[in-house]
Assembly symmetry: C2
Homo-oligomer: 510 residues x 2
């Protein structure tokens, strides 16, 4: 047995490429959301590992029969749930190379190309996003970027940096006084990260947002909370501002938030997990205005930049603040290159020591599609979401719950369509109705959308982001939404609100 025999690798590798190409070709045949019941697979599979080797042919048959029915098809063009994971051929090939080389890139020496390609790609992306030069690797600066798995890791690393920096200054017995800020729309990663790094749970301030500002975090409300804390003898250390919140893709105003935070010497992290990708287009870049006042910035290329899971890009202005608490020294890793101070050892930029050759996939994405291709990809998704929004607006039974920023439309059947007067706090019925509507749509298996709730209002999120989605999929999705609403409401579907009837002015806005 040679488990890396090149002839067998070649034979089996070609088989799996064909298997996956067929999968993409036939992806429309599957219900988007898996329809299995809890326990389906546990019941089907044997309860111990096979004693003898089995053939790849047999295993692939089992993937077809046992695994695929239990998959929710995130790569389906009809996947409009959560935020999509936009895979691509280039990224897939990058993963193949990474897994083929299978190096462990903890420091420069362990595979110099892994470290240096990551530095290069992070500088490329930083330029593409027009991040301030202070976030890039340069001969005269302290900035730099690193590839992590997820935003949660980015927050843990930067929060730890902020915490240690402050404790170094004020003394280590003050941990209990440290306070972290976000809004009620910030991703739960922040709370999880705060718990992990030992910030008191009651010192995580989720500042209230309201419909009147589209659920943005306002500097006024933040200032109020900070002032109260400072008066109580507490110490603000960290703000997580969001560009593209998870529920509604709202954008917090970075410039005034950074300005306010600087008065308190706070670390500001900008989490642009989803919407960061859009900011490679000049017309969306203004959402990052003010980022020059932040301490760190991250976005997930695996959400909307054609990069397979997992790929979180993090930049910091002060790399030594980041690496100080994360650095380790082991005798068995000492080497001349590290001692020379000429190289970056990425093990000190992240939680784990082990790391893969992550930069390959991003490098291949950037080269295979080019800046123009990536921008076209983003713009096409935004255009499709805009179309969907136009259709919702034209059907008077529906309403837009929060204005669309990027490629997510937040909508619902309006309370008056179901004869509910919401002004008397009767959200419950409207929420129940829209919940039922969403379930009836998803149960068809034709498309998959998910929901959220803001300000007590339940709504449906139509999130465009899957790589294969085209106009016709959006059109069919909308027709399905209308049909199901019609069934539930017992009314007629208005004839005006169909894709072909999109008025000129919407067409020209695209």
């Amino acid at each position: 047995m040679n488990p890396l025999d090149h002839a067998e690798f070649r034979r089996q590798g070609h088989m799996v490429i064909d298997f996956l190409a067929d999968y993409y070709q036939n992806i429309n045949n599957y219900p988007v959301r898996s329809e299995v019941n809890p326990g389906y697979l546990v019941e089907r599979l044997p309860d111990c590992a096979p004693l003898l080797p089995e053939s790849i042919e047999r295993i692939l048959k089992d993937v077809d029969n046992d695994i695929i029915p239990g998959i929710t098809h995130w790569q389906s063009p009809n996947f409009f749930a959560y935020f999509a994971s936009s895979g691509s051929t280039a990224s897939f090939l990058g993963e193949m190379l990474m897994n083929g080389f299978n190096i462990v890139g903890f420091n420069w020496l362990s595979s110099p190309a892994a470290t240096e390609l990551e530095m290069v790609v992070m500088n490329w992306l930083s330029k593409l996003l027009q991040l301030p030069r202070s976030f890039s690797f340069s001969n005269d600066g302290d900035g730099g970027g690193v590839l992590l798995g997820t935003t949660c890791e980015a927050i843990i690393c930067t929060l730890l940096a902020a915490k240690e920096k402050m404790l170094d200054k004020i003394g280590r017995t003050n941990t209990e006084k440290l306070v972290v800020y976000c809004s009620d729309q910030t991703h739960v990663s922040l709370q999880k990260a705060a718990k992990i790094v030992g910030i008191k749970p009651e010192n995580v301030r989720k500042v209230l947002t309201t419909k009147s500002t589209n659920f943005k975090l306002t500097p006024e409300s933040l200032n109020e909370v900070i002032k109260r804390d400072v008066e109580a003898g507490l110490i603000p250390i960290y703000l997580c501002a969001t560009v593209g919140t998870t529920s509604t893709t709202t954008v917090d105003p970075l410039a005034p938030l950074c300005e306010l935070s600087s008065k308190y010497n706070m670390w500001v992290h900008v989490d642009a997990a989803y919407a960061g990708s859009a900011c490679i287009c000049p017309e969306f870049r203004h959402f990052l205005d003010g980022v020059e006042g932040a301490s760190s910035f991250s976005f997930n290329a695996h959400k909307w930049l054609l990069t397979n899971l997992a790929c979180c890009c993090l930049w910091v202005k002060d790399k030594s603040a980041l690496t100080k608490p994360l650095s380790t020294n082991s005798e068995y890793l000492t080497n001349k290159a590290t001692e020379s101070g000429q190289v970056v050892d990425y093990k000190d930029w992240q939680i784990a020591l082990t790391r893969r050759f992550q930069a390959l996939k991003l490098w291949m994405v950037l080269r295979s599609y080019g800046v123009t291709g990536l921008r076209a990809f983003i713009r096409n998704h935004v255009k499709m979401a805009k179309n969907f929004e136009g259709l919702v607006t034209m059907d008077s039974r529906f309403e837009i719950v929060v204005p669309r920023y990027f490629s997510v439309v937040c909508f619902r059947v309006s309370p008056c369509s179901i004869n509910i007067n919401e002004h008397h706090g009767k959200n419950y019925e409207a929420n129940e109705f829209n919940h039922k509507l969403l379930e009836s749509i998803n149960a068809t298996g034709l498309i998959y959308m998910t929901h959220s709730v803001v300000g007590g209002v339940y709504f449906i999120r139509f999130s465009v982001g899957a790589t294969l989605t085209e106009d016709r999929h959006v059109q069919l999705a909308w027709e399905l939404v209308q049909d199901k609403a019609t069934s539930l409401l017992g009314t007629q579907t208005p004839k005006t609100a169909s894709y072909s009837k999109l008025p000129e002015q919407i067409g020209s806005m695209l």
Copy 2:
């Protein structure tokens, strides 16, 4: 542009399979350790991303010209450094499927197969390792396993569980009193994890080990340290015991360490990152004796179980202790399956929320090679290390520094061979000599080994673990070691200590 066009995916996928099959076929042509200088790649590449798309043909040419020279070839049969990363075809194919489906498996609903296959595979592995049933998923127990990336994550998650469990009991103001234990041979992950979860750095006890016990952590020395802490009013919460330490692969005695720790109600984590894989062979299983007294156990399948990076397997006895501090709730993730309590949501078993379909690759490894194939793989590596050890023993210029347990041989040119009397604390010269020897060997590019230091003694680690390594590679490696030692010592290479001269009794021990 359709970045997931199935025809283009097929064409380019086949190209990269061939590229990698060629790479494995020609892997002996490359120097094992990369020979580039710091900055080599940064200087070669343009300083911004290309505006227009580039072809896969051009990109692969650049991988050949620019990337491969900067790779240290961890998959080379002549890679004997660190601990190897033993990739395999089956695991590579599993990664391909995972990346092809590209699902985000934060909870059961988001892709039921991802969660359930992971549960199944973790139970399979648990049986294979003969872990106590309390570590497995079962209808009547609280145990279970999860796939993480690295040991550092496993330690963070379990240490957080131990910390929160204790603070729940004794009150949250006692964080400063919590103490964590390990030995001076424990992997630095523990210190890093402790820093991350907010254990006071001065409360991490690295208990001294000595040559007299082969650098094992003894219950006597641990007890002494704990007693002193308890008398000082501190609170012991966590012990990390190691099966197969990084420097010498020593095994801490689990049974007495667990017994001692239970007296203090401490959480014991067993880190078997490297050697855990060997314990699937009945003859090595005794190294895990006593694990039934531990609270959690982890090993890295990416080190020595034919699984590509990164794959750390973690089991816990008390899953609710683990998930309590790691759980989050978001409105947009609420779903019936979670509410029913019938499913596992793995986002609450790890640091991040995002996760991939990790179980696919382990499942494919277990099925493709079977239990017999995996055991044969491990045994073959141990046999080759045993042979190498035999050869070292037969050449009187060398000595074994710490007895071999598994597939790592710790050796050096002995001080008396270089006319140094080490008993007067003159390690320095012997260390320098062996350092020079190692460098002269690695500089040939023919093989790659690394070093460590225990008890002040610098030694060379001959670590067998690469998938492609065969007897002939070990033989050539030994001949190279002898040649270089001869050059540096100015002595003759003894004729007896060659592979073909391995005496019968060693042969029969294999």
